[in-house]
Structures are given as C-alpha cells and as structure tokens.
Symmetry: C2
C-alpha cells in the first residue's frame, strides 16, 4: 500500500474523516464503551470455544479492529472473534498436536487473511455467489448445534473432546459420571438468565417506561452484570478451591508480541482447506452483515474492498498472537444502535481492549468457565433457524435437500465439509435444471419467411432437409442432450440428407459443446447427412472459424435461414451420398 | 427383472432376435473369434495393470459379456477389462492391505455395478452431463501417462510401486540399478512392434493389395502374432530360468467360483468414493463409445438402459472373481468392423473365453510380463490427446484451464481426484458466466405503454417511482448481484420511494433468490422505499403466494407494468414513510 499523497486520496479511502468533530467523537466513544462491555466476555468465551487460551481472544480484539477501520468499507462493522469462526478454528486445529495449536490458530488466521487479500486484489468478490443462502442458513444452524454440544462439557465441568457431533456426544456421555454439581448449577442458571435477558429484558424495560432504544442497549449489556455477579460469587465463596469449579484462571497480563508465525509443510497441508473454507464463510457472513448495516444508512459496500479489509484484519490477528476474526453481526448492530458514527468507534474499542489486556485480567481470573459456556450456548439459540430450513423445503424440495445435507454434513463430517457439500450440491442442482435446452424442429409458415415450431404450428417441412432451432447457449452440461436429440432425429428421419441447426439465440458455445458439434458432424457424416448452420451470431461465427468443426463441416454456414433453405431445398445433390449409403 | 411373458416383450428388449438366422450367426462367430484373439492378451495385461493376478482378467471377460448382451442397449459393444478402469481399480485397491486386494477389486466391481443399477432405475442417466468433454479428454491423457509410468517397471523387470505419478517415478528411479536387460530388450522391441503394427500395418497391407477392411482386421490381430513369438522365444531359450525374465507364470486352470464378496466397514469406507467415480467415468466413457457405434448403424442408445447394462456387467464381474469392466472402444470397433451383427457375437466371445480359461492357460505361462507391459504402453500412445487440450485452450482459456487442472490432478493426486477436480471446476466456471443477469432501469416510451431501457432509449423516468426490469431467472448465484444492484440504486436515488421489479422473463426463483428478495424488501423498508412487482408469470406468483416475502411485502404485486405505474405514479402516499425517514 503506497502512502496516500494528498488529502483527496485520503478522503476517498476514508470519506468519514471529512468534517469529523468532537460531537461525532463523543458519539463514537459512547458506542465504543458499550461494544467493549459486550466484547470482553465474548472474546474470552470464543477463545475458549476455539480451544485456545483466553488471552488469544483479547489479542484478536485489538489490531484487527484497527486494520478493518483502515481497509474495510463498512462504517459500523465491529470485527473480532465470532462463534462460527471460532468453531471452524477449533475443528481445523483439533487434528494438530496439542502443543502446536496456538501457533496453528495464528497461521490459520494469516492464511485466511492472505487468501482474502489475494482474492480481493484479483477482484474475486464474486466467489461469495457460490454459497447459496440455504447453505449458509443450514450451515449456521448446524454449527450452532455443534457449538452447543461442544460447550456442554464446560457446563458439566467435565473433560470431553471430539470434533464431530457424534464424537463429542460419545465423549460427553462417557464423562457424565464426573459432572461437577456447582459447575452445572452455575451454568444452568446463567443459560436461563442470559436467554431471558436476550429475549425479554428489552421489552420489560420498555414496559417499565424506558425508551425503546435505551432499553435495547441496557438489555444488551445485561450479560456483563451476570458475569460480574458470577465472578463475585465464585471469588467470595472460594468455589474453585472448595468445590473444584473450573475458572478462567491466570491470564498473562500485557500486550501480544508481534511475530509472523512460520508454518511447516505438514501444517500447511492440514490447514489450506480449512483456511480456504474459513475465508469463504467469513466473507459471506461478513458481507451479509455489512449489507444489512449499510442498507440502514444508504451506504455502499464494495465486495472487493471488504475482502481486503477482512484479509488485513485476519493477517494482523495472526501476527499479534490472535486467531481468525470476522465481522460480528451482534456487536456491529450494538455499535450502530449505540450511536457510533464512524470507524473511529472501532479504534476506540481497540484502545479499551488494550487497557483490558493490561489491567482487567486479574479481575477475570475467577470467572467460571461454565458462565462463559452459558453465554455461548444462550447466543447459539438465536443462530438456529430450522424454521427457515423448513420454509426452504416447502418452497423448493431441491433447495431444502441441499440445506438438509449441509446441516447433516456439518454435524457428521465437520464444519468445512458441510459447507463444501452444500456448495457442490447447489451447483449440481442448478446445472441439473439447465440440462435440457429448448429446441424444436421448425418449418416455414406458408407464404412467409418465418420459421416456427413444427409441432405447434401448421408449417411446411421437408423430409430431406430438416431444421432444428436451438433456443439456448450450448455448454458442456447440455451438449450431450443435443447429441442425443440429433441421434434420435437421424433415427426417425431415414430420408434426411441435410440438417440445419438454426442458432438465433446462442450466445456461447464452450469447448465441450464445440467438441459435441464435431462429434455430431462426424456421426451425421457416417449416416450420410450433411450438417449446416444458420443465423449464427457474428462473434460465435468468428470464434468457430479456426476450429476443426468448420474445417471438417460437411455442410455450410448460412447467414440466414432463408438463404439456407434457398440453397438446399431446390435440388439436393444426391450423388455425393452414395459413398456412405453403401455401409448399411 | 420379471420374466418376459410373451414374444413381443422379448423382442422389445432384444429386437435383433427377430429374423436371426444362420447367416447372421456365421458373421457373429467370425467377429467373435477376432475379438477373442484381441481380448486374451488384453485382459491379462489389464489385470496386471490393476495389480491383480492374470486369471482375474479372464474371469472378467466371461459373465460380464453375457450380462451386457442381456441388459445393454448397444448391439456392437464389447465389454470387459479396459486400461483406464484397470488403472482406477489399481489406485482404489492400492491403499488396502495386499492380501485383501482380490476381494476388494471384486467388491469395487459389485459396488460400481450397484451404483449404476440404482442410477439406471432412477433414470439417472443425466448424471453424465456433469462430466464435460474437456475433462474426459484431459482425464484420459493423464491416465494414459500414469499407466505408461506404472508399466515401465515391468519393461525394466524391476520392483516399484506408488499410486501417483511422483510416487511411481521416485520408486522407479530407486529401482533402476536392478534393471533386467533381457526384460528391457523384450519390452523395448515389443513396444516398437506393437506401435508400428498399430500405426502402419493396415496401410502397408493395403498397399500390398489387400482390401482395406481386411487389411485393418489383419493389423488388429497382429499383436497376437507378436505375443506368440514372445512366448516361443521365452520358452525356447528358457529365458525365465536362465536370465530371470519375469513371465506370467502358472495361471489357475478352470472357471471362477460364483460368490458374493462381503465387504467389511473399513473397506466400504475406502471404496465408496472410488466406486462412485469409477461408475461415473465408466458410464461416460461407455456412452461415448456406444453413441459412436450407434451413429454408424442409426441405432438408438438409451442412457438409462445403458446404465443398467453396465451395472449388471459389473455386478457379475464382481461375483465371478473378476474386477470392474467397461465397454472397450477398441474391441467394440473391431467387433463392428469384423462384421458382428448382434450381441450374439459377445455371447460367443464369452464361450471362447471360457475355453481359454480351461485350456489356454498352460500356453500363456511363458508370456513375458514385459511383452504385456509393452502392449499396454503402445495402446496408451493413442490415448494421449495433448492436441485436443491445446485446441481447447486456444478456443477457451477457461475450458483449457479446467482440462489442465484435471490432467495435473490425475497425475498428482490420483485418478479419482483428477475427475472430481475437473467436474467441480467446470461447474464453477459455468456458474461464473451466469453471475450477472441482464437488468435495466426502464422508462416509458412517450405516449405509449412500452417500457424500455432508460440508458439506451429516450424514455420518461420518474425519480420517485423507479422500475428495474430483470431479464433472467433468479437463483442463488445471481441473487446477490440483484441485492447489490438494488443497494446501489438506493444509494444513487435519494428521492426514490417506490421500486418496481418488472419480471417478464423470470421462469424460476429458487429459495436463495426468494431469501434475497426478502432481504431486499426489508432493506428497502429501512431505507423508506416500497417494493413492488409487475408482470410476474402466474406459476411464479402462485409459488410465491404463501411465502414471507409476500406477507411482509411493503408494496404490491401488479399484473402489468401499466397497472403498476397507474397506481403508483399519480399521487404517492408520502405519509407512510415518516416512520423510517427519521432514522437518518
């Protein structure tokens, strides 16, 4: 990135700098404070979910916010650890040796960041179009269930592992006998409280006469109160010492070291696919958040620039001791609702998180793991979307089946595979709907030069010279259908000696379709039929000009259908077929 | 399969039975004899290539031919071991323990057979459309190179292994010091002879005055002469004993036992993907052979019935001690050229092969492995098709890139992965070309009720009520483009209060596009814009009726564009926007 040379360039990149003043700054500070209150427990909980030490979550909430503010395109986006990405990280690094997990999480972040940056620079934002919404919804529901299962061990206070749903459940069941009652009570009460505060608190406060927007914000920061009380009880009654309640424990105080993690070849091999899928999912998820935010403010989101922003965030997350990050829907919404005006809000959150890393960690020491697990589990309730999968199913069985396969894939094979299964199934189903292009044998409308479908109109046809009109572009998936159609036509038309393909609607002929046309040409030749074309678009004609199809074409290319019929109909040249006919 | 109850049913299944007579029978016997001469060395060589004992190749050339004659749809198809399928078998079973390879090859055949039968019964013949020609060509070229590399060890007379190109080459280089000179000489001379007989013999014979068709057949059976001489030299000079020349050795005499191989769970897990890809490749390859044969005879090939035929062949191959089979292009062509008239020819080949299994094996004992390897290598020369890959590249870089990725994938990751990479890349590239559907802001042609593209025509537009005409079906891959387009439109149209989507060309809205429309509706709502539709097809309207989109739609659905403008243009109801506008 070359340094911008003048003010106008700076303003182009960061238009909100223009007219920035102390009133806007005050708004940003207030929003930042509220986001930070939300972020501190979340980043710890998500690091836990990823199977990483809690400080990794804090580190991932400092530099990435600054990088996004510099390169991203949404004004309200709040970047940092998120539930789904943390779960993907957990799945990716679980297969690696325990002692390398910290560094592999960092490498995963750097790799995903690089992938996003490369795609962004190549203007590859289009790639998100391959992930259909049904797949995303089903994927997130599957991941939410997986996350809830994975957190149950913290609520129970037991040891369990596994990366797929079945593995985790089996391990959980085996560990049931070691359940810690205090942990379970803590967790159970907290799940209920977190859930109630999410569902009903803002409505309750509103009923008590608090203004709607303020009530919403108060409800959003309620978790910190629950967490504070948890810490107080855990510390005051010495629960860890007396009842073996598991708590976060000592978090190293201070700031992360900056260093580029160096992967070995084995790690690269294990991590490239997870990094790719993680980058894809993060980006799709992030774009959907960014667009929702932008629509409220009539802002404009640039997919390619958004890729650069997300890529830069992940890069710096990796080199500052963090792990993969993403735009958080919940925190971004809070940021916007709390009155943030510019990305300065994110810069201030980064500053607050730096202070947290320096001074807050001693207080967090007594925070029970089951409280954090409860926070995650309660958050997952809202990620479930079976209703939408069911609606999808009712609307279109094919899309519903894709969603179901994705959901089950996530649970049975793991998160990455679920997404890949969904993406490939959606492509297969779409291409399946395009396998049979419209085509019709046409004949002349008596007394005109119009050619119409011979099955639907009373038109003049000729059993020696037939015309097949093709109504769609030819590509590999429908080319064989054309071969088959023509093979049938040959079989049903023993007297046919000339076949004209009338192509007014063909915009594209790919290499496979070209090859099919060559095959058709040579098969027709063996059957003693000449192949002609009419009404080809000029750019298609130019493109075909140098191909073997045209070199070996038994017939001709006619500008118009009329010209073709004028040339072929009057007196077909029978003599030239004698060579072939004797085969039969 | 219920037994046919009357003659007409039998004739429907086997139309060639009608009028079958002794003259046709004589033709079939002659063709069968020539095919058998070709098949005996080939089936031994291909079993070798698959890493199986030679008799497995013979067993795979008896019952499968009978099964295909009963269920297949091509009259001239000659089924049995083929090079590519043998290589796929080798790759699939190489990862399993040595002692289980025989049974796993049989299981692979049964599984592929079952997959084909299930697909055939479900009328799943369409699946072959997903494998583009560029992918098939590149795949076969890659496989040919891999086969040649894998056979080099037999020519050198050394031990080597590996399933990918790099692995094999590394192992070959390590084994070079143990090269057997006699084996190398045998192999080298045979490669040249086989190749010359393939390339020039028929032309040479024709020049000597032999009729073209007879010359072709003579050239085709030349290999058996070379093989006969090899056996004679190997036996006469006692090369195996004196110089350590590796030969086929004792082949168990007799017929295979019929038994269903029972897989364990591990095997099923290892073999399901290879079986699926093998079924797919076998079917695609086979259909291309069948269609080429059928075009000469104006026959009709039924994809679904062909699947059943191939499936039945593979099933019986598996339960009669064989391994996966496929229709052979080279033997089928010989069968046709040699004058075969009906599938009876294949039944006679099966009978000849039974005799070979009973009486020919002692003669084959001294056949040098390097001669067989030379036969395979010479056959592979003709499978290479770099010219076609290069032509594809020149015609379309995208298709060329897919072909290259497939070729490299076959060599680097193995045969199955190469095909899968190619299939997925082709889908991605195709969908990429459909990402941006045509859409245009339209306005009214002054004084008419025609609406035309506002950028290209001088039409009346309205800054409060805008109309976007969408020219293509909406599905997941282009739905986000619509979201983006509308987001931009909202940004550029601060005064817009109503947006009409005019949909005369939409034939399909999938679940993801529906979801995008819902998102667009709610984003437009936040931005204070109402969303309307006009000119929706009736079937689309019916389908949408019960969805949340229509329930929550801020605007209306109008039958025609005129009706929409009549209703919205005169006096838009400003009052209802006040709620939203205050957000900004």
């Amino acid at each position: 990135m070359a340094g911008p040379k003048n003010t106008s360039k700076i303003l182009e990149q960061w238009p909100w700098l223009k007219g920035y003043n102390s009133s806007l700054f005050t708004d940003d500070v207030v929003a930042a404070a509220i986001v930070t209150i939300l972020l501190v427990p979340q980043c710890l909980a998500y690091a836990l979910l990823a199977g990483l030490p809690p400080q990794v979550g804090i580190y991932a909430s400092i530099l990435p916010l600054i990088a996004y503010a510099a390169f991203g395109s949404s004004r309200y986006m709040s970047v940092g650890p998120t539930a789904v990405i943390s779960l993907m990280t957990a799945a990716a690094i679980a297969v690696l040796p325990e002692e390398t997990r910290l560094v592999s999480a960092a490498i995963l972040a750097v790799m995903s960041g690089l992938i996003l940056i490369v795609f962004g620079l190549l203007r590859g934002g289009f790639i998100m179009n391959f992930v259909s919404r049904s797949v995303v919804t089903a994927y997130i529901s599957g991941a939410a269930l997986l996350i809830m299962i994975s957190q149950t061990k913290h609520v129970l206070g037991t040891q369990a592992d596994g990366t797929t749903a079945f593995g985790m459940i089996k391990s959980l069941l085996n560990s049931l006998s070691t359940t810690n009652i205090v942990s379970l009570m803590f967790g159970g009460v907290c799940i209920v409280l977190f859930w109630l505060s999410r569902q009903y608190l803002s409505y309750g406060l509103f009923k008590l006469g608090i203004r709607s927007r303020r009530a919403k914000l108060l409800a959003r920061i309620a978790p910190i109160v629950i967490i504070g009380i948890s810490i107080a009880i855990s510390y005051g009654f010495e629960l860890p010492q007396k009842y073996g309640l598991k708590v976060i424990g000592d978090i190293p105080r201070g700031l992360p070291m900056l260093q580029v993690p160096i992967p070995d070849l084995d790690m690269l091999q294990m991590l490239w696919l997870p990094a790719l899928v993680l980058a894809l999912v993060a980006f799709v998820d992030n774009m959907s958040t960014a667009q929702t935010l932008a629509s409220r403010s009539r802002d404009r989101i640039d997919a390619d620039r958004e890729m650069l922003g997300m890529g830069a965030s992940n890069m710096v997350a990796g080199i500052s001791g963090g792990y993969p990050v993403n735009g958080s829907m919940s925190r971004s919404a809070v940021n916007y609702t709390a009155g943030a005006k510019t990305p300065v809000s994110s810069l201030i959150v980064a500053a607050f998180m730096t202070l947290s890393a320096l001074f807050l960690t001693p207080i967090l020491k007594y925070l029970p793991l089951s409280t954090l697990a409860a926070l995650i589990i309660a958050a997952c309730f809202s990620l479930f979307d079976f209703k939408s999968i069911w609606r999808t199913w009712k609307y279109s069985a094919g899309d519903g089946f894709t969603a179901l396969a994705t959901f089950i894939g996530v649970l049975v094979f793991g998160v990455q595979w679920g997404v890949l299964i969904g993406v490939v199934m959606a492509m297969v189903l779409h291409i399946r709907t395009t396998l049979r292009p419209n085509m019709a044998i046409v004949g002349r409308f008596p007394g005109t030069e119009h050619y119409r479908d011979a099955e639907r109109f009373n038109v003049e046809t000729n059993e020696f010279v037939k015309t097949l009109r093709i109504d769609e572009s030819l590509y590999y998936a429908n080319a064989r259908y054309l071969e088959d159609k023509i093979a049938r036509l040959v079989e049903d038309s023993p007297k046919m000696r000339d076949l004209i393909l009338m192509c007014p609607a063909i915009n594209r002929i790919d290499a496979s379709a070209l090859s099919s046309l060559e095959t058709i040409n040579s098969r027709l030749k063996s059957a003693g039929v000449n192949l002609h074309f009419s009404e080809l678009h000029t750019h298609i004609k130019d493109r075909l000009a140098k191909t073997n199809l045209i070199k070996n074409l038994t017939g001709e290319i006619f500008f118009s259908q009329k010209e073709a019929m004028d040339s072929l109909e009057p007196e077909p040249d029978w003599s030239r077929f004698s060579d072939h006919v004797d085969i039969h």
